[in-house]
Assembly symmetry: C2
Homo-oligomer: 261 residues x 2
């Protein structure tokens, strides 16, 4: 087990535009070796793939990206709408975001972030000869805790989990359910050098080569818990209201003379 | 802005027991400099504080630690019970855990993790002369995503958020709501060198000194979102059932001849 690793922001990348060869740009900007993991802000992948729409079309874009509304709340600044998007990711505004987008535009997430990650990893491996992994990251809020963390929305050539189930802890007891999400932890760590206010969309992680593997390993989609197995699949208010309607209808159907149903 | 940092597991620490001077042990095990951040697995703090109970008392300990039941689900292996504990942390079994605990025992979380972090930071700063930050970490599951990540349950001498609100992105647009949770990202990164199956309960982060500050900065408790502002404050099934009962009762109170209420 490695006991040390480092994360470094990749400087000197140009502003990315539609059609840019991101694999070639990254491979040319940093020296890479076997076992390195590249963490790429999904926004630059969106830019290279032309996933940009006019800001006027923002609401329509959000609607088009939304598969399922998870929770909404009105507040002073408007409406917070937490949705599951086409990529299966739960977050605000379906990942449609104006920050770091060209003026007058908003960026959509890559259509298939795992496929984008795989294309990048394949390209960079071919150009450099180095067996690297690639994680695409995005910045998302989360239940229960304030602030955001960067998480993995795409991955290729890396084990997204450190599956310890069945192994033993230091005292010999089995670690029944322990399965740290390496990809999310690496994505969050890379945020600490990339930042939001700077132009450093790519970081390289050195020293975690034990998590690098084949390009056909499960991607970040495998991190997403299916809604039917999620205790928090919809917001508390939405669930309450759904229950209220069902309970009200049921009581009316039963009638007051037959309360036992 | 630093563009590189490293994380290293601190090797050579002994098994920790009640009453051990953790600050002295850590200060003696690793060279520290201004701006270093120590990420300490909360379990070793629990051990040094004697937060250990017999395994037979596990259920009683969970009940005593629980402030509020957030969600429960029965499954083959028993019941998953997600609760808010006395520390305000939402997780399974109120943080009461048998892994890496002495045989026949379970560990409780420190009573006040921010206070424990502050005592550690104060002690280590005094012993070494280095202005370090301290984060206490624990391993928790989360909604929507499989696996666990390490997050910050205690903090002292570090900015737990990188508060960018009001700053501009690289293209000059304001970052209205962006507030990365540095403490959680650092805790997760440290998990990658500490691991669950090894005896490395402490990691040192070098290169993120811009986040190190006064000992009276807000602790990890400030990361916890108050339930009344949380869209996912209780599980979907629990909220549905509560709504169902209320709707049913309301319809019965109104009666069939007065459906408009």
């Amino acid at each position: 087990m490695a006991v040390k690793f480092s994360i470094e922001g990749v400087e000197g990348l140009p502003e990315i535009s539609r059609g840019d060869d991101l694999a070639a740009l990254v491979a040319g900007a940093v020296d890479l070796a076997d076992g390195d993991i590249l963490v790429v802000t999904s926004k630059v992948v969106s830019k290279s793939e032309g996933r940009v729409v006019q800001a006027d079309d923002r609401e329509a874009a959000i609607a088009a990206e939304t598969v399922r509304v998870v929770a909404t709340r009105e507040h002073e600044g408007g409406v917070t709408r937490i949705v599951e998007n086409r990529q299966g990711i739960i977050g605000a505004a379906a990942g449609v975001d104006a920050s770091n987008a060209p003026h007058g535009t908003v960026l959509l997430l890559p259509i298939d972030p795992d496929a984008s990650a795989r294309a990048l990893a394949t390209g960079i491996r071919a150009l450099t000869g180095a067996t690297v992994g690639v994680i695409l990251s995005d910045t998302l809020g989360r239940p229960w805790r304030e602030g955001q963390t960067d998480i993995a929305i795409g991955a290729a050539g890396v084990h997204v989990f450190d599956d310890l189930r069945g192994q033993a802890d230091a005292s010999g007891k089995p670690l029944v359910v322990t399965m740290p999400c390496v990809a999310d932890e690496v994505a969050g760590a890379a945020e600490l050098v990339k930042g939001k206010a700077s132009r450093i969309p790519v970081a390289v992680v050195r020293g975690l080569g034990r998590f690098v593997g084949d390009l056909d390993l499960p991607g970040a989609r495998s991190i997403q818990r299916p809604a039917e197995r999620d205790l928090f699949r919809i917001g508390a208010d939405e669930a309450y209201n759904e229950g209220y309607r069902d309970g009200f209808d049921e009581a009316q159907a039963e009638g007051p003379l037959n309360p036992a149903g």
